[in-house]
């Protein structure tokens, strides 16, 4: 009896092809929303990163198939652009501008302060997973330097004191 049941299951397609993971489902939906057009690959990655917080490697074969591109091409695009991440980030991503205009107003000291106060390097995440700090080259706020961006919110004239207030605000928000 048991043997017979086993045979039946083996014959079904469900067992040969494991159910797609939620990330793969999301990737397929995002591709479809862009008409599976290969020229919209950057937009697809943006949308996926917006939904999942990062672009999991497991979604790459799915995207490649949907867009009729090779996996190597899709992987190449993902890894070329600094904006896309292949690992989850902290709850808040804080980008600190390190370009010339901000250098003229002390961004090097600000970066050092951020690293020291959050106990992580640029590109790293705090131990509690709250904040990821990243370097970025120019946020277009060069007359109000140094500039940082938290999510989509831009801040100007950020000295170490204001930086602490902004980070403190994020922590307070999380506590509530």
């Amino acid at each position: 009896m048991a043997k017979k049941a086993g045979k039946q299951t083996n014959g079904s397609r469900v067992e040969q092809f494991p159910a797609p993971t939620p990330a793969e489902v999301a990737a397929l939906a995002v591709c479809a929303s862009h008409g599976n057009k290969p020229d919209e690959l950057l937009e697809i990655f943006h949308d996926l990163q917006h939904q999942l917080g990062y672009v999991p490697d497991a979604t790459l074969p799915v995207i490649a198939r949907a867009l009729n591109r090779s996996r190597a091409e899709v992987y190449g695009v993902l890894t070329f652009y600094h904006e896309f991440r292949r690992q989850p980030a902290g709850k808040h991503v804080v980008k600190i501008c390190r370009a010339e205009a901000c250098q003229a107003m002390g961004t090097d000291a600000l970066c050092e302060h951020a690293e020291r106060s959050l106990h992580t390097r640029l590109g790293g995440t705090t131990a509690d997973g709250m904040v990821t700090i990243e370097q970025v080259f120019c946020l277009g706020n060069c007359a109000l330097s140094p500039a940082i961006m938290v999510g989509e919110k831009l801040y100007g004239k950020v000295d170490p004191k204001r930086f602490d207030e902004i980070i403190g605000g994020l922590e307070k928000e999380a506590a509530e």
Binding site: D39, A101, F137, G140, C142, A143
Partner: protein, 523 residues
């Protein structure tokens, strides 16, 4: 009803414009006053942001920089009637910083509600396009050629010639692409226009499409500018509904549609062929030229590629004529440029001025010197690939040719000011480091040269065979200039060599003490 203007520009938001707007609304509610808060673009006086303006019978009166905590006091002082206050500056249009500019491209920016088509039309918007819809494409091209407009992205290539190339090719699938990948530090004019007057860019691109015979256009905006992306997408949607985009624009047989694409943090995508690759959903690897993009551009089709500032200059050129625009400027640099004063400067902001103005005028008359109050030591003009200019060259007029004569470039018109605490050897090292991080990797001089450049400069700083390494650095820079495929590797030597030549003392300091802790950590 009293109109109060609080900018929605990202720079204004970065110093609390949203909080100020909310405070004004709530204070007005408490006092039972009929106040309408309009979210305009920025006037470009960024040192005064958030700049609050009140509409009075005499004109708009300015207050800034306003913090949310100042709002109650402003109401108390009677700012709604334009009364005096410690933060008051009188009539906005009379502030010298603003009054002494020549605003052609930015004529509307900061005055209108960026998304209101009625506002846009009331202030001369769509007049250029209305004319262009009735013109022969070749006449549009001629007008742009007459104006002397040159590519505002930095390279300064005559826009009319580019358009003529696309115009002269047989009809068929053609594109217009706008380079809004404003990655250069010290530049924010594109962002300010996209957020403050998006229809101006849409109008300019539509005129380009008529001239070149294109049906579709793309605006490639960097991902660091989410506010610009939102404003543009909304503006395009509104323009479509009002039939300024789409099929049979305003009942004519011209059709053109426009789409926004977002970059993803790659500086190199500001190079036009790299941008095309990125628009096609590929890695932003630079293409060989020829073929030039005007002949084989996006998806292999003829494409007009221009910077935001170039397209945005077109509506007024078509409206008022090429000669009107050409009458501004000097030599072969015609019209106006939106100079951006940034970095260590007291009064940072955007100054639209005819070519011919000097660096000194910009950083002293407008900028008011450094923010730290120390003497200015160097100004980097034209972005991370532009030269560092010492004080001795501050009186060279802003003109493409005059700047080239002193081994510098006007570029996009961005000025980053440094005070006397700057270490120019460190800045030279950064230029190479930046190139190493952002190189697309296609050509060897850029990809490997930049990494070797960082190492050589490190040796110079550490006083290891200093003279030999300075000679080696110069040789490396010649290789990068002559051998690189695009401006990334080709122009990185500009900031490096300008620092070495203009500030030699910084490359001959005693070596910094070796840091044992860091050396241990590296192992």
């Amino acid at each position: 009803m009293i109109k109060v203007f609080v900018p929605r520009d990202a720079a204004a938001l970065s110093v609390g414009a949203d909080e100020v707007a909310a405070a004004i609304v709530s204070e007005a509610t408490i006092r039972k006053l009929d106040v309408e808060v309009v979210r305009n673009g920025s006037r470009g006086m960024l040192y005064l942001e958030p700049l609050v303006e009140v509409e009075t019978a005499e004109g708009r009166v300015a207050y800034g920089p306003v913090a949310a905590s100042d709002v109650a006091g402003l109401f108390e002082a009677g700012f709604l009637e334009g009364e005096a206050h410690a933060l008051g500056h009188g009539l906005t249009e009379e502030i010298p910083y603003f009054k002494n500019q020549e605003r052609l491209t930015f004529a509307r920016c900061g005055i209108t509600d960026p998304l209101s088509i009625e506002d846009y039309r009331k202030h001369g918007g769509f007049q250029g396009l209305t004319k262009a819809l009735q013109m022969k494409p070749i006449d549009i091209v001629t007008e742009v050629t007459t104006s002397g407009l040159r590519g505002r992205g930095g390279a300064g290539f005559p826009t009319g010639i580019k358009w003529k190339t696309v115009h002269d090719l047989p009809a068929g699938e053609k594109y217009v692409a706008c380079n809004a990948d404003e990655g250069d530090s010290g530049t924010f004019a594109d962002r300010m226009l996209m957020e403050g007057d998006p229809y101006c860019l849409i109008e300019g691109m539509t005129i380009a499409a008529i001239a070149g015979g294109a049906q579709k256009g793309y605006i490639y905006v960097r991902s660091e500018y989410p506010h610009s992306v939102h404003v543009l997408r909304e503006a395009i949607e509104i323009a479509r509904k009002a039939n300024w985009l789409g099929d049979n624009i305003q009942g004519t047989n011209h059709s053109f549609d426009l789409f926004v694409r977002m970059g993803a943090g790659a500086y190199i995508c500001g190079e036009e062929t790299s941008m095309l690759e990125s628009l096609e959903g590929k890695r932003g690897i630079v293409r060989y030229k020829p073929p030039i993009p005007a002949i084989e551009g996006l998806f292999g089709k003829p494409t007009i590629i221009n910077n935001v500032m170039s397209f945005a200059a077109v509506p007024i050129i078509i409206d008022k004529g090429g000669e009107f625009y050409r009458d501004y400027g000097v030599g072969r640099s015609r019209g106006t440029l939106a100079f951006q004063i940034a970095g260590n400067v007291k009064q940072g902001g955007l100054v639209e001025k005819a070519f011919g103005v000097t660096t000194r005028q910009l950083i002293e008359d407008w900028g008011g010197g450094t923010a730290t109050g120390r003497p200015v030591r160097a100004v980097q003009v034209g972005g991370p690939l532009g030269a560092y200019i010492p004080e001795s060259k501050f009186d060279v007029p802003m003109d493409y040719e005059e700047f080239a004569k002193v081994d510098a470039m006007v570029g996009h018109g961005g000025l980053v000011v440094f005070d006397d605490t700057v270490d120019m050897a460190k800045q030279a090292r950064f230029a190479m480091e930046f190139c190493a991080i952002e190189s697309c990797g296609k050509c060897t001089p850029c990809r490997i040269g930049s990494t070797r450049g960082v190492e050589v400069i490190d040796k110079i700083i550490d006083n290891v065979d200093r003279d030999k390494n300075l000679a080696l650095l110069e040789d490396l820079c010649v290789t990068m200039t002559d051998g690189s495929l695009c401006a990334m590797g080709g122009l990185t030597p500009f900031p490096v060599m300008s620092a070495v030549r203009g500030f030699p003392e910084d490359f001959h300091k005693p070596a910094p003490p070796a840091n044992k802790f860091l050396a241990d950590a590296a192992e």
